[in-house]
């Protein structure tokens, strides 16, 4: 221990000096780097603000072009790249700025930056260069992005796919479709870019419906929902409601509801008894979206489904059909399944039947026995909290009469415990 103590005493001054040296060096680096970063941020901020100001100035186009050219020439290459990441979406001024910058500093340099694969720390240069070239409408951009979309670094791939999703060029769409089918990137992200693609893509997406991979069929079915006027799509989607993969059946019925509500109802009815719960739930939603109370009788049995989410979907579908579904729901107020009774009462509450019944009956001196019976059933199926909520909803002048009526039904809510 004495040796350790001696060693400690001997090493301490050196250690402290080394630590002070390291701390000082790191502090100087941080200060210099921080200062440079702040200055760069100011340049970027001012450049973007100037581009916006020139665009909003209302000056003659030639003057704007001249001013933007001067601005681009005043920046060095790296500052141009930094600015490219902060520029707003494509606008005429941004395009002129990008063109001027690439002309002034040499297009080749930016193309080289956009195509070269470097260390992950330099990803921003490649992404910025790609963005700048996209801003200026570089004619050979799509192949460059295609190359980036094949990169091993997911950050580069993500940036490339995002840019491809905004280029109105079928080759860009092909790369996106290839990326989706080849599972090169998160499918939901690629699907998002395809879903918001500026050109219609039914021809590119159609082959996905017949892919052997159920996941790809699913995305094909989901993405095609946008193209309701594509010839033969309705038939294809209808056929896919019988697909062996439940995920595809679910997507097919949801897409069909967007393409043709009436056709979706016909295809959805058999799916209400599908063995997979989420197919049943989507079938109920598809019928609900048609908003036709004629089909309430098909949906109502699902209020007693064994799966909770199907019951919820059934409730939502029935609510979408409007107040006319009340007669279908009345028998469910006496259902043996508690949840079916609860569900029916909740739908009657949400479509306004409960409120209008109670207000109307409270306003009359001699309420109709049939309506009173129905009120009693709804209140019994809905429970104390439903009557309490009802009392809370009715306006103040009517409240005493409603309370009286509820009391006469044996449903006095005041002070009732849960």
């Amino acid at each position: 221990m004495a040796t350790l103590s001696t060693l400690l005493t001997a090493a301490l001054p050196t250690l402290v000096l080394a630590l002070i040296g390291l701390w000082t060096a790191l502090s100087v680096y941080l200060f210099v780097a921080g200062r440079r970063a702040r200055m760069n941020a100011v340049i970027v901020e001012q450049t973007v603000a100037t581009v916006r100001r020139i665009e909003a100035s209302g000056a003659l186009p030639e003057l704007q072009v001249k001013e933007l050219g001067r601005l681009a020439a005043s920046l060095d290459k790296v500052s141009v790249l930094r600015t490219a990441t902060a520029l707003p979406e494509r606008s005429p001024a941004v395009e002129v700025f990008a063109r001027s910058a690439t002309t002034h500093h040499g297009l080749e340099w930016f193309v080289q930056q956009a195509s070269a694969s470097r260390s992950p720390r330099a990803n921003w240069r490649r992404i910025s260069a790609l963005r700048l070239l996209a801003h200026q409408g570089y004619s050979n951009l799509v192949p460059l992005l295609g190359q980036a979309a094949q990169d091993h670094d997911s950050e580069i791939v993500g940036a490339a796919l995002a840019l491809l999703g905004r280029i109105p060029d079928m080759k860009a769409a092909d790369i996106l479709v290839h990326s989706l089918t080849g599972a090169h990137y998160a499918p939901s992200r690629v699907a998002t870019y395809l879903d918001q693609f500026p050109l219609p893509l039914p021809a590119q997406l159609r082959p996905m419906l017949h892919n052997t991979d159920a996941g790809i069929r699913y995305w094909g079915v989901t993405l095609l929902a946008r193209y309701s006027d594509a010839p033969g799509l309705e038939q294809d989607l209808t056929a896919l409601t019988n697909d062996p993969a439940p995920l595809v059946r679910r997507a097919a019925i949801a897409s069909l509801a967007r393409v043709n509500a009436a056709a979706a109802v016909t295809a959805a009815r058999p799916l209400l008894s599908d063995s997979v719960w989420y197919v049943r739930a989507h079938a109920a939603r598809a019928i609900g979206e048609a908003g036709n109370p004629e089909f309430a009788g098909d949906i109502a049995p699902l209020l007693a489904d064994r799966e909770w989410w199907v019951r919820t979907a059934a409730k939502e579908a029935l609510q979408r059909m409007g107040s006319e579904v009340w007669s279908t729901l009345v028998p469910y107020l006496d259902h043996t399944d508690t949840f079916a009774r609860n569900g029916a009462a909740e739908v009657l509450q949400n479509i306004g039947i409960l409120d209008s019944l109670i207000v109307l009956e409270a306003a009359t001196a001699r309420p109709s026995q049939t309506k009173i019976d129905m009120l009693r059933k709804i209140a019994a199926a809905g429970g104390t909290r439903m009557t309490e909520a009802l009392l809370d909803r009715v306006d103040l002048p009517t409240r005493p009469r409603v309370r009286e009526l509820l009391a006469s039904l044996g449903l006095e809510p005041a002070g009732a415990s849960l």
Binding site: M1, A2, L4, S5, L8, T9, L12, P13, L15, V16, L19, I20, L22, W23, L26, S27, L30, F31, A33, G34, R35, R38, T85, S119, P120, R121, A122, N123, W124, I127, S128, R131, E155, G158, A159, A162, G165, A186, S188, R189, T192, D195, Q196, T222, W308, F339, N342, G343, A345, E346, Q349, G383, R385, M386, E388, A389, L390, D392, R393, L418
Partner: protein, 447 residues
Amino acid sequence: MTGSPLSTAVTVAVVYLLIAYALGGPFVLLQLIVRAVSRRRNRYRSVPDDVLASSRFTIPVSVVMPTFGVSVSDAVHQLLLLNYPEFEVIIINNGAADALEELRERFSLNACEVFYRRTLPTPPVRAIFRSTSDPRLLVIDCPGHTRGDALNVGVNLARYRYICCADKDARYTPEALLVAMRAAMDDPATVVGVTTSLAALDSDPTAGLAGQSTASALRSLSNLRGLLARNSQRRLGLSLDVKPGFTLWRRDVVVEAGGFSTDVSPERLEMTVRAHRQLLRTRVPYQILHVTEPVGAPRQEPTLAQLIAERQQRHQAMARILWRYRGMLFNPRYGRIGTVNLPQYLFAAVIVPWLELACLLALPFAVVAGVLSPLNLFLVIAAVGFGNGILLNTAMLLAPWPPDDRSQLRLLALGPFEVFVWRPVQLYSRLLGLARLVTSARGDAAA
């Protein structure tokens, strides 16, 4: 006195202090430099959030926020302004009439009955209200006692697959939910949880320092240290921040785990460890991720007393969690989490505070015991200070740059002193937490 047990103990204490404090900074710096070779420059990442924000494929989320009887209408309004395609906001009021009335007035709440499945046991729901001005808002009046109770009510009523636990004391950015959900959206099949952080104040851990007091600057430095800790929490996905950002969970995982804990606060820590245990047992591939990008900032700067109380509660919770899940410790069945990460936490949460205290108390005796001369004692203190300065400078490499030269100079200059001001406060709260845990355990045993 050289060679006596006292001098041996004091020498060991001094060596420990030098290793932990003085050499800790350079060690973390070295680690960071090694990692930096393959690290991305996040600051230049360009993600088209506008596309995700308007996409129909963006996964819907149920945002749940307990109120605890205080006015939250501004916080609710802010949640409703989140830039996200499909979400609902479920507010759990714990029975406070004033807070409920304020919400009713501001959001035109209508009482209604909603039948839901009580998948998790909760206190009885007193009333349910839906907003007529914004149907995405549901307010539940339920006299629960803990945040876990309130969150479980939210889980029962949630319609969507992901549950986002929000905090009334946080001010979230409009993009917060997108930032948090981005990780889950890339792989919803395996991402079961996402934890996020809040920045200190304003937009980042070092922002807003110009014109602030030295105490605030020291606190910001302490938050910077948190950035390094967060970096090492990635595997466990734990969010050890005093005030967390959003914490997102896949609903099925919460339900299968039996809901949020009602006896350990903060419940997010307990849920993280429990989810790990359950998913590792079932051998299902999963990920619990921690997103380092801040999703907001605290509504107001906590007072020193609040900070101590919160830190103390957190350390107490961590110790309690480690005790509850002690079966996972050093258990190869739980892979790296059981054999490395949790033991690491055990060491940091239970052993390190006492070790630190003992070493700090031993320091004044170093001169008496003849281990150090007064000059060497000064050198030890200087080494500890500058070692900590290096650690904080390393953390600054991970944080956004301070807003101006003056703020940065102040942060750099205060770095070596932070250890003597803020660190003892942290140590005090940690020890207090452990002491209270032991006292309460004894009380429980006696009862």
